[in-house]
């Protein structure tokens, strides 16, 4: 009897969770509500069962997430009896930072990058779990499972610890931190197959439904609430769409799709011709932009 590949990935991820918790003082799980976070949370529960996960969840909110994401977040936390910390960058709240007036790059930097740093500092977390996968984007292919961050939360690609076998080194000096990515070796397809196998709940936005969208700069943007300013001539139309990835609704492109269930999503993926991050407006700011965001502390 041997483990099939999903079971092997699961066992590896659980192994990572346990090592990280055993070697850190104040771990936290960065919960961004998407499918990867759903899988991450499921694995965290498995890793420590029958104990609850020995760390809280942290959601760095931007106030611009899809409403369904927030509802799903609150329902999940209540159902599983978990501790959730929601952090909103108070400066952004005060200034009313949004992607329309401030642009996607500044919006993301202030709400997410700066917000995450504030939250980690405020709670003195020394280790943060994230759902990033190496297959997502070129600069992530070289990311360690245990990724070292300076006291300024910076990621220095030239100064990462060699990672051999399964011997992870989570030792840090006061103020420094480690980001841990238990899903490093998962692909998008693995995540969906695992969601299917384990019947893991995900935000319904991943499944096709009629939603009000406008086509803007070649991207289908869902008009999730009244805060979205419409340009001249833009009229939301109801289309059968779904999302392959979830973020701030004005920055996340929908795809036209009829896939209304997990098996249909998997089937659609097998014939997909674009990558999941293609719908992410922020990735296309400039060549190498994810690498730059990571250096600055973006997750």
């Amino acid at each position: 009897m041997t483990l099939d590949h999903l079971s092997r990935l699961e066992a590896d991820s659980i192994d990572i969770f346990r090592e990280a918790v055993a070697e850190s003082e104040r771990p936290v799980l960065l919960y961004s509500i998407g499918k990867d976070s759903s899988v991450l949370l499921h694995l965290a529960r498995k890793a420590f069962h029958p104990s609850p996960p020995p760390f809280p969840l942290l959601h760095v909110d931007t106030t611009w997430k899809f409403r369904e994401m927030i509802a799903f977040r609150d329902e999940t936390v209540a159902r599983l009896g978990l501790e959730l910390i929601v952090h909103r960058n108070p400066e952004c709240v005060a200034l009313g930072v949004n992607p329309f007036d401030h642009g996607s790059a500044l919006h993301t930097d202030l709400w997410k990058t700066q917000g995450l740093r504030q939250a980690l500092d405020e709670h003195r977390f020394d280790l943060a779990f994230g759902g990033a996968r190496r297959d997502e984007e070129a600069s992530r292919a070289k990311e360690r499972v245990f990724s070292f961050r300076t006291a300024q939360h910076r990621w220095d690609p030239r100064n990462q610890r060699p990672e051999l076998w399964r011997l992870y080194n989570a030792r840090v000096a006061p103020g420094e931190g480690i980001r841990v990515f238990p899903l490093s070796n998962w692909t998008e397809l693995d995540v969906w197959r695992y969601v299917d196998r384990e019947r893991i709940p995900v935000v319904p936005l991943y499944f096709a439904a009629r939603r009000p969208v406008v086509e803007r700069d070649g991207t289908l943007i869902m008009v999730d609430d009244g805060r979205m300013p419409l340009r001249d001539g833009e009229e939301p139309t109801w289309e059968l769409v779904r999302f392959r990835t979830l973020g701030c609704y004005p920055l996340t492109g929908a795809v036209r799709s009829t896939a209304a269930s997990v098996p249909e999503v998997i089937e659609e993926m097998r014939t997909a011709t674009t990558s999941e991050r293609q719908g992410r407006v922020i990735d296309h700011d400039r060549g190498g932009s994810m690498e730059r965001k990571k250096q600055e502390g973006y997750f």
């Binding site: 192994d15 069962h49 104990s51 600069s139 060699p162 399964r166 011997l167 692909t187 190498g288």
Partner: protein, 612 residues
């Protein structure tokens, strides 16, 4: 597609490695349109292929790397076919090579070694193969790339394959598959190429899809590494960890290491319900039937076949940090799930990775590999790296910077024999001597290569055998093919070579045999050691004496000529010393005597000493 293969690609930037990986991603239809559109733009802007797609750009991810035109770290790539799912570790081929390749190889089951067909087997090819072998990779494909640039010549491919195969016999590979390839043309990467009609073997992807990396035997003893003590409330106490080897089953008797605690597996707990058994690789939580003390880093093992525990080892060390490994300095080491104080003794030698030769070293520098005795502050459960990578590997951590500065692979424990009590046996040497009708002894032939040791020893053995004696001949060349095949010809290795032979000879004397040992054995100290291992009067040193000039003129194996040309290092008499015996028991001068006459002189001498 339920099977997963992790492999590493090795080769330099010029061998077309990034192009190959880009090609595998492309051909396995894992590139999306947005990737391809970006690739097309980048290919025109910074590519090296003119108007064609430059697949290397897919792999050279970091902006800094693109500017330099080289990759700087280990990158992991994912692709899948109908047959298998793959994780490819891509490592760059320049100066940080050892560090990066060792990192990538540590989690790989197979290796693809690339070379440029125009250049053939280079030092770096041997380095890649050597590192892969050292890290325990058993399955290797040699991708003879850029065959398009030599006109898809079968001759070029055949000669490179033969050269590599000959070299690889010295390594621990289960087999080597050579593939004639062009990554830029896509020849034999995924589909067989019409340009190599003479090749009917597997394509590279075909090999990756089919190579059997050997599921561990089901009946292996179980090893479970405890990572975290799981105690949600007073009623539950479990040990969360991983099955590293074998299968753990409910009801198994287990031993807790280090130490001698015994218990029984009561439950194997998972969130999906209890399991009756947990196969290799499973992450589960074990509840024991007894209230034994177990903590993080302990190992639960099959009670009747547990691993050993020790605190001192000989290990292969790979140094990863800009600051040298300093013998005696206090570091930390993480082994299994335990972090403890660590020091290394001065290296016994450094391994020159390209040549596999051993060189003296006082420290280990970044990207160097050496062998040293190492000491842990605590007794840790372990198994040799060859047996169990998980319990045989460790990383070294700097106490000040917390950086991972070194990696180690355990060869063996130093003090294991301290735990092994010598058994007193009733049937002893004397009893065997009586049964045999003669005394046992060691007849040790020493002399330069080409002196005639083996010829004379063979003739002596024939005589003794005909005379009804129980004999055995240990010959240098033969033993080096087996017992001592891991040893080279440096001084340190020669010492170890003779130490082992002396031990074997002493055991054979215990078995009642007349042991004829035919080794150059250049050093007096080691010959003295061999004498000390047997009782007084059981050792006879035979000096097969010949002047160097005569031995060199004879040169029956052509070795002196090679050594003089500089092709053989550390050759006794040329660039490695021979210390002649000062007072041999028997001396034969082979410039004056024929081999037969020499043999008769030895037998007469043995009789004179009362040894036969």
């Amino acid at each position: 597609m339920d099977d997963l293969l992790r492999f590493i690609t090795c080769g330099s930037v010029d061998d077309g490695k990034s192009t190959l990986i880009g090609r595998l991603l492309y051909e396995s239809k894992l590139l999306y349109e947005d990737h391809l559109a970006a690739l097309a733009v980048d290919s025109k802007r910074v590519g090296t292929r003119g108007e064609e797609l430059d697949f290397a750009l897919l792999v050279d991810g970091l902006a800094a790397e693109r500017e330099q035109g080289i990759t700087i770290d280990v990158a992991y790539r994912f692709f899948a076919t109908e047959e298998r799912r793959f994780i490819a570790a891509d490592t760059p081929g320049h100066e940080q090579y050892t560090r990066n390749m060792v990192t990538g190889a540590s989690t790989a089951d197979a290796a693809v070694i690339l070379l440029d067909a125009r250049k053939g087997v280079l030092g770096q090819t041997r380095r890649h193969a050597h590192l892969a072998s050292m890290l325990g990779i058993r399955h290797v494909a040699l991708a003879v790339n850029k065959l398009d640039l030599v006109g898809y010549s079968r001759g070029v491919f055949d000669s490179i394959s033969a050269e590599f195969a000959a070299f690889a016999t010295e390594l621990d590979f289960d087999g080597v598959t050579c593939v004639p390839m062009s990554a830029t043309d896509g020849a034999n990467v995924v589909a067989p190429s019409a340009l190599t009609p003479w090749y009917d073997g597997k394509t590279l992807l075909g090999w990756l899809e089919s190579v059997e990396v050997g599921a561990a035997a089901a009946d292996e003893p179980a090893r479970f590494l405890v990572q975290w003590v799981n105690r949600p409330d007073a009623d539950f106490r479990g040990f969360s960890g991983r099955v590293l080897r074998g299968t753990l089953r409910g009801g198994d008797r287990v031993r807790v290491l280090p130490g001698d605690r015994l218990s029984t597996v009561d439950r194997i707990v998972t969130m999906g319900g209890d399991l009756t058994e947990a196969p290799t690789g499973s992450s589960v939580t074990v509840v024991l039937a007894d209230d034994v003390d177990v903590s993080r880093g302990d190992v639960l093992a099959t009670a009747e076949d547990p691993p050993d525990a020790a605190d001192a080892f000989q290990a292969h060390l790979v140094w990863l940090d800009e600051a040298d490994l300093l013998p005696g300095r206090r570091y930390l080491a993480k082994i299994g799930a335990r972090t403890t104080g660590f020091t290394a003794d001065p290296p016994k030698y450094r391994v020159e990775i390209d040549s596999r030769r051993r060189a003296p070293a006082k420290v280990l520098r970044c990207n160097e590999i050496g062998v040293a005795n190492v000491h842990f502050d605590e007794v840790v459960p372990y198994e040799g790296y060859r047996v169990n990578k998980d319990l045989g590997s460790f990383v070294v951590i700097d106490r000040l910077t917390n950086a991972t500065v070194g990696a180690g692979m355990i060869d063996f424990a130093l003090h294991r024999s301290a735990n092994v009590r010598r058994q007193r046996l009733t049937v002893d040497k004397r009893a065997r001597a009586e049964r045999n009708g003669h005394r046992p002894c060691v007849v040790w032939f020493t002399g330069l290569s080409g002196a005639g040791k083996s010829t004379i020893a063979d003739l002596v053995e024939q005589t003794l055998h005909a005379d009804g004696k129980n004999t055995f001949l240990l010959d240098g060349d033969n033993v080096r093919h087996g017992l001592n095949r891991d040893l080279g010809f440096t001084d340190a290795d020669r010492v170890e070579n003779i130490r082992r032979i002396a031990e074997v000879a002493a055991l054979m004397v215990d078995a009642g045999l007349i042991v004829l040992v035919s080794f150059i054995s250049p050093f007096r100290t080691e010959r003295a050691l061999a004498r000390d291992l047997v009782a007084e009067g059981e050792f006879c040193e035979v000096f097969v004496d010949v002047p160097l000039a005569v031995a060199e003129r004879r040169d029956p194996k052509g070795l002196y000529a090679k050594a003089r040309r500089g092709e053989l290092a550390n050759f006794t008499g040329i660039d490695s010393p021979y210390e002649p015996p000062e007072d041999p028991d028997i001396r034969v001068d082979t410039t004056a005597l024929t081999p037969e006459e020499s043999a008769r002189a030895v037998v007469a001498g043995l009789r004179g000493l009362g040894l036969c």
